[in-house]
């Protein structure tokens, strides 16, 4: 019946923070993530990850374990109850670190 104007604030804020996040994405930061996909990270990398991890559910990336400890593929969540996620591409990753980093690269590509 009525528009949720909170979304306008979200879009305005998101535009601003994306611009800030873009400036943090450097070859060094990408390399840091490749070596350290989880755990203690630089403040800049943590800031980038906090941003992408807070994204809305539709289209959000997740890992699909073909077998319990790999190999893995990338999923995009539907964000809709009961609707299965979809595979993103057909690349198969051997390790969790590899798929985490591949997701990171896709996420920062989406920011740009």
């Amino acid at each position: 019946m009525f528009q949720n104007k909170d979304l306008l604030c979200y879009e305005r804020f998101d535009h601003g923070i994306r611009e800030q996040i873009k400036k943090l994405i450097t070859p060094e930061l990408i390399e840091e993530h490749r070596h350290s996909t989880v755990g203690a990270q630089s403040d800049a990398l943590a800031r980038v990850l906090n941003y992408v991890r807070r994204a809305p559910l539709p289209g959000k990336f997740a890992v699909y374990a073909i077998k319990p400890f790999g190999p893995y593929r990338i999923l995009a969540l539907s964000g809709l109850r009961g609707k299965r996620p979809e595979f993103v591409g057909d690349t198969i990753y051997a390790t969790l670190d590899e798929v985490y980093h591949a997701i990171f690269l896709k996420r920062i590509e989406n920011i740009k």
Binding site: M1, T37, V38, G39, A40, Q41, A46, L49, N50, R53, R54, A55, P56, L57, K60, F61, A62, V63, Y64, A65, I66, P68, F69, Y72, R73, L75, L77, R81, G82, K83, R84, P85, F87, D90, L96, Y100, I103
Partner: protein
Amino acid sequence: MTPENTVGLKHIQGYCDRISVKSQDKIQFMVSAQGISAVDAQLVRLIHGDEHPQGPGFKEELQTAPINKRYAVRKQFTQVGSFARVVDTKGVLAPAGAFSIFAFIWPTTPQMHQQGILTRWDASKQRGYGLGISADGFLEFWIGDGQATQRVKADTALFGRCWYLVGASFDPAKGEVSLYQENVINAYNSLYSKALPFDYASHTQGKISIRPANDATTTFLLAGSNETGPDGQNAVGERYNGKIDRCGVIGRVLQRADFDAIRASLDNVPQQDMLAYWDTSAGYTAKGIGDRIVDVGPHQLHALGHNKPVRAMTGYNWNGRDDVFRLAPEQYGGVHFHEDAIIDCQWTPTCEWQIPADLKSGCYALKVTAGEAEEYIPFFVRAAQPKAKIAVLMATASYLAYANEQLSFCSPIVQPIFGRTPVLTEKDIIRVESQDLGLSTYDGFIDGAGVCFSSYKRPILNMRPKYRMALASVWQFPADLSIIGWLEHQGYDYEVLTDEDLHRDGAACLKPYTTVIAATHPEYYSERMMDGTEDYLANGGRLIYMGGNGYYWVVSFSDEEPWCMEVRKGESGSRAWQAMPGEYYNQTEGIRSGLWKCRGRPPQKLVGVGFSTEGFDTSGSYTKMPDAKDPAMSWIFDKVGSDNFGDFGLALGGAAGLELDRYDLLLGTPPHTRLLATSQGLSDNYPRVGEEIYYNFPGQGATQDYQCRADMVYFTTAKNGAVFAPGSIAWASSLPSNNFSNPVSTIMGNVLNAFLREGPLPE
């Protein structure tokens, strides 16, 4: 479709009717299968449940049992959704002449799909009548004679989460229907203020030329409509989301003034020609309320709730002052129905087995297979006559809390909480996609309300050996099997108990044991469970609390339905949802839910440590504190020479991880507690728990806040009792590292061996 996800087309699911059994008890197994017509059943004893390549892997022991057979199976139907049914075999609610129907309602998804509020309606045959909500969100009354269905629809849409009195009168002689829709909003009971200039009312009149075809077998429903299920069985569809308060059926035409009078006072509900009047506030006691909705009318056509319609909820007349049904039951007539609630799948049993007298106490499962499809249906066998000195208390209440959680799929904040991207399997996708296995207390219903009930009368696909939670570790039951695996490997004689046993029997079930080992994450505790544990310790019992974030939420069970747990997540705590104002008390037992800390029983009082932080990126390790160097405590660290230990493990690489507990004198840690070791190496993905933050400010992660940590503690209790607690969920997952030969295993052996010896322990 890719080859990988065709796996989902064939699968087996099952559950059993009891979670804890002993010699001579009978247990039934219910199995449903998709794309499979026969399964092979094999009884197994579970030894180790974590398949992590750095551990010993999955271990089971096949058991000889008469239940080991091939069984025919099929896809079994599950009735999803909560509703209340009135069996009306005499057709009282199928009047041949004029009648009126009314209900106070608080709809939560008025624009989702067709919903029945009060119906005697078979949607498949289009026979009967109903008062409900149209797919586009308008009050509607309809009649069907099996040939045609005629509807009269209101001209003002319903607002969600606002209270209304709605009704309809049907005069068959004139073929007239009058709808009644007026708000009953006060300052507290609805989403919006009464000050808004909205038009809530509708008084539409319309024509219906047919008479309802009322079949004797059609039941009267609150919050749904009858329909024919996939196998021809009676099912309930058109399910309603929201609350229904006092409601009834009157055997004559009510005029607008009559409805206005009901709206003004329930004293004006017509007694003359009353066919039924469900007083949803009737039946409360100080101990809560059950599933029966009382008809105070002349025919006593009580409605019985299915899949736990939520009671102890505020009603249309809630005044915002009386915050529990015990003070003002008349204000707690709200019954919240959810189209996606599941408590009991009610499947047909596939097989039954009687526990033999000589079966060793332990963790068991019926392993059901067909080709590559596999399902484990776990249950626990306790000792009929305890003989071992050690009992492992399996945290079945907490298993229920997390049962079939959908956090990674439905909660946008899970990835920041995890500090990693979730890792999902085909089984995760199947259970989320199927939507007929029910939800956990970490999920919301489709209308956004938190899930306050969870039951084991349904397949719980994440309470399985081998299962890995999306945070890339085992969790709850499969994690607890690492304790079992360690006891087995070290050769200890042990027996198992469950939370169900502790709730039912209290300290009596713990008393035979010299030492009780509590599991990795015993987060959900009833009052009887708390009392039983405290009484055990007060009488010389020795407790190893092998985990983190334990003794946290106040939960309730009824003696009649031990399979169903209730929790209301209150105004504090790390919580996936929060109960609405005035709805903080469990309808089961009638006690205030929320955190035990908020009820005067912080976990620190019981076990020395309590929840301080959680993180799921990596786990840290421990470093010894000065008490560890005291010669009086040297027995705990015998053969653990290094000051730093625990930088290994199957749970994210360390012994201090996932959810962590801290020593805090102000929260009741006993003052003579030995602080033996503390955690180190945690990232800022371990923030301070919300219940400890009064004012928020930057810098409350583990790299900047010293109180985000795990503490290993030990203290003595009365009569030579004692508690040892490492303060970390990940601790037990470090036991299996290096084939159970590591400092964590050594410390546990030192503590357990000392606890098993009679006589006083060092202080």
